[in-house]
Symmetry: C2
């Protein structure tokens, strides 16, 4: 029998109990041991559950119980989750977590402590909810050099953008609907500001390229400024707008990593990942592009990923899973402002012809895009092979003769 | 050092050598042992390779070498592959294979022998090429009851259908192009007849539901009869035609399993899996729908899956991987003719109104679909909630008054 403890009995924590209770037989068959949830830590009272006797308000009951060899952290947030997880690993307990903030900010340290103590620290549920992604990347890495990962990593923003694209809702309306449906929190800033996607691409980047990437090193732009006009231009260009987390290894062995809304071509697999779904593309030198698609959040999908990790922990009490990355490396992240990309620019101008001429003076490749019902003073252009830095430098050219830059959106290449 | 032998030096076999040579460092890091290819079995001569000294024409050199603990079978075909693999497992060697015919027809037996000898028999590359699918299903099974799997499992037919849909080529032209591009063999019957897809859905069904399903138990329809008219009707209906392998567990605990071209709604993730790509949807009770997408064949993708299995074998010399299914169970496969489905019928008739009236007499739900440039005598209808058996029974109603049934295509629900 494998005694485990669960820290937190919120959405994911109660889902973990539901999955364990509902799949006793198949879990036993895989793990070859029965999973016994011995303690559940939560400050709230849950008097009416069939397992109410398992609750405790004191972490000491768990850390002091030597029979507990696996601790499941599903509280979320950095403190006290970090302190508890660290204490567990230091006292010989393997840890499974769904906490992306924890992994994105403390992953390298916790992986090191786990390795020093010959324990597992697993976090399949931290990215992509129920989509298997951490394990496939980790396993396919052996026979592949990963060149790039790009994904729609946040369901809330993808729901909002889908509503803007399909139903012509503006951002505020779509956000309200997301909140009404329980897809967005009352304070939606971590989602719509891109922070959540940023944590997830940091975890994937750390895993795929071997050194920890911290969220504060990553240029992160959310979707709050995206307008229905932008959506219309994306359509005219031949695609849709999606919030993308992207990382790739450059020729100089530095990482290009950003989170930003991007124009995605209709041809791309990621263009058809809609509503609250996530989609993650992994480009390997041998496998080519592999895409993983599914529900990136939610009680049962996330819980099922947590439980799969618990099974893995039980089966690997002696042999550690290979899952590791080194701490951050200096000068590892390329300045995002230097990367050459294609951009869509949305401009307000009293004279479109004149503005087109100044753009053509300033940039080598300029192509106009005309959306349905374009306003009289509105100009949409695609500028190729420029960097954020060049766009900044040449802002005066763009805004010559009374023109005003309303927005700029990265155009993806995948 | 882990000594291995490779049976076969065709496309996949040479790809395995390429992946092993090209990723020495990362392979060592994962496996913690160096992979040493000691023997390669092939009847042909390869005098000019850097590893020409490893070749042998005699299987005895391999079976008799006790240092070889892993044998990689990438010859394809049933004999002698089956005999060799069985001999290896019986003499204490784990086996990795990419051979779908072998796994689909002999899987249960070989898994049993592997288990009896505490060895691994792994076959990630047999389905989906470089797409990780066997391992994720096997692992997510613990925390999920799989309800259904449906997939585009054959790249050749998907290429042909994509050409028919996008470029209005007919089947024969598209097949010819596929052959010219090396996507189809000179004798393309196993691909276009659905046999290859059938083997793959049998492997997935056996894995997901626990009992071996043999290809000859599965109703299999290929794409040779699909016309450009059908493609036009699929578009008018709101989707595309794809060759689908599908299996689901019914309420009576029997399996519904078929391979057939199907109408797939534009809304479905599988509708956008084009060209030589594969896409596989796995529906779990906790995860919901998860879709895996990528190159389902080809030298390096397939080889990379083989090499990932080799690593797993090396890491699990003592602890077997959990990968197993029982032998076939009597009365386990539901007669495909009994399942209620929706169908598209393509009819030639001298009097459309009259034929519509007989159809409405014979079936409860009949809906007309009109394609662009429909011919004068052409009628397309969707019939809901009927079985193959009922369609057969009522053929006389369909073909009343000089009408003729040209084709019937299953309409998918995913």
């Amino acid at each position: 029998m494998a005694d485990i403890a669960i820290l937190g009995h919120g959405v994911v924590g109660s889902g973990v109990m539901e999955v364990i209770e509902g799949h006793r037989e198949s879990l036993f068959e895989r793990a070859k041991e029965e999973i016994n949830v011995k303690h559940i830590l939560d400050l709230r009272d849950f008097p009416d559950l069939p397992y109410s006797d398992k609750f405790t308000k004191s972490f000491d009951d768990i850390i002091g119980d030597d029979s507990v060899r696996i601790v499941v952290e599903v509280m979320g947030g950095l403190h006290p989750a970090y302190d508890y997880v660290k204490a567990c690993l230091e006292s010989g307990k393997s840890v499974v977590t769904s906490n992306k903030e924890l992994v994105a900010t403390k992953g390298a340290e916790l992986l090191r402590i786990a390795r020093e103590n010959n324990l597992n620290f697993l976090f399949e549920a931290s990215v992509g909810g129920g989509i298997p992604i951490i394990r496939p990347i980790s396993q396919c890495l052996a026979a592949n050099d990963v060149a790039e990962i790009a994904g729609i990593l946040n369901g809330t923003t993808n729901f909002i953008l889908t509503k803007m694209i399909r139903d012509k809702m503006d951002f505020a309306e779509a956000l309200k609907l997301a909140q009404e449906n329980g897809y967005a929190e009352r304070d939606p800033s971590a989602d719509v500001g891109g922070e959540d996607s940023c944590r997830k691409i940091c975890i994937l980047a750390s895993l795929a390229f071997g050194h920890h990437v911290y969220p504060d090193e990553v240029y992160t732009q959310g979707i709050t400024e995206i307008t229905l006009e932008d959506v219309g231009y994306a359509k005219a260009w031949g695609g849709v707008i999606k919030l993308i987390g992207q990382v790739k290894m450059l020729g100089n062995r530095k990482l290009h990593i950003i989170v930003a809304p991007m124009f995605i071509s209709e041809e791309s697999q990621l263009a058809h990942v809609d509503d609250v779904f996530n989609g993650i593309m992994v480009r390997g030198d041998a496998t080519g592009d592999v895409v993983f698609y599914g529900k990136g959040a939610g009680k049962l999908p996330t819980a099922s990923a947590v439980v799969a990790d618990i099974i893995d922990c039980i089966k690997h009490f002696k042999a550690r899973k290979y899952l590791f990355w080194e701490d951050a490396k200096p000068d590892y992240i390329e300045d995002y402002k230097l990367a050459k990309m294609n951009f869509f620019l949305h401009i307000n101008t009293p004279d479109k012809e004149k503005t087109m001429r100044s753009l053509e003076d300033a940039f080598e490749k300029v192509r106009r895009v005309i959306r349905d019902n374009e306003n009289e003073n509105e100009l949409g252009v695609v500028i190729s092979d420029v960097s954020f830095a060049e766009l900044d430098e040449k802002k005066a050219h763009i805004e010559k003769d009374g023109a005003r830059l309303l927005g700029r959106i990265v155009i993806s290449e995948f």
